[in-house]
Symmetry: C2
Subunit: 135 residues, 2 copies
């Protein structure tokens, strides 16, 4: 590849990256592609056990292979300011985005998800699920 062509491509990539950045303007409505939000909080049977927490985290990572899950974030409690309204009693969270209700339903029965429950459900005491749809 000659230098001129390299320059063309380099500047075009920059242009495209700029366009992509402009399209992803912070705080813009995200409604559309993956509007179904599935947020799950796990309370550990042994709340102090980092080993148990990490086993759930490892288990959650296996879910990444499920195609219906369009984005997966695994979280632990953030050290934000302690306030009455903030629930920081849980241990691990999973935040997933789906295209639609059918995608979420297919995830529920997916063998990898079932295997995760089989392998890890003895480690948690309580689970709360929030399913939201973008407005």
């Amino acid at each position: 590849m000659n230098k001129t062509r390299r320059n063309f491509i380099a500047s075009s990539v920059t242009l495209a990256a700029g366009t992509a950045a402009a399209m992803a303007t912070p705080a813009e409505p995200q409604k559309g592609k993956y509007p179904l939000v599935h947020h799950v909080f796990f309370w550990l049977k042994n709340p102090g056990s980092v080993a148990d927490r990490d086993r759930i985290i490892e288990g959650l990572k296996t879910l990444r292979k499920i195609e219906a899950i369009k984005e997966l974030r695994i979280g632990v409690v953030a050290s934000t300011e302690k306030r009455d309204v903030v629930d920081n009693s849980w241990g691990v969270s999973e935040l997933m985005f789906f295209e639609d209700l059918a995608g979420q339903a297919s995830y529920q029965t997916h063998p990898i998800h079932q295997q995760f429950i089989k392998d890890c459900s003895h480690l948690w005491d309580k689970v709360i699920v929030y399913d939201a749809i973008d407005v």
Copy 2:
């Protein structure tokens, strides 16, 4: 711009778009840019009031102007399968992503956020906040 250059740019943009798509592989770890997840659920004082719900939604939309909020989704209960673990008793949710703890802290005291609380807090009965950080 001549045709050859247009072609160069078009194919380069396609190349860049392809690269961006590859980088955003579904279900890949999202740790990095905006790892702080702030998810708030509001229970309405008048749970059946669509008008009250919509006023909160309109209020939440004003938060989009706060720069520290890198992504904001506003949600209502999704009609996923009813299960014991699913809490569908809330009315409106806000899901925000921040760069870091400082960003989230600055949001808490931001005048637009304070105005939202002033305008809308009489409409809700209960609030639960979950602050998670990606692992």
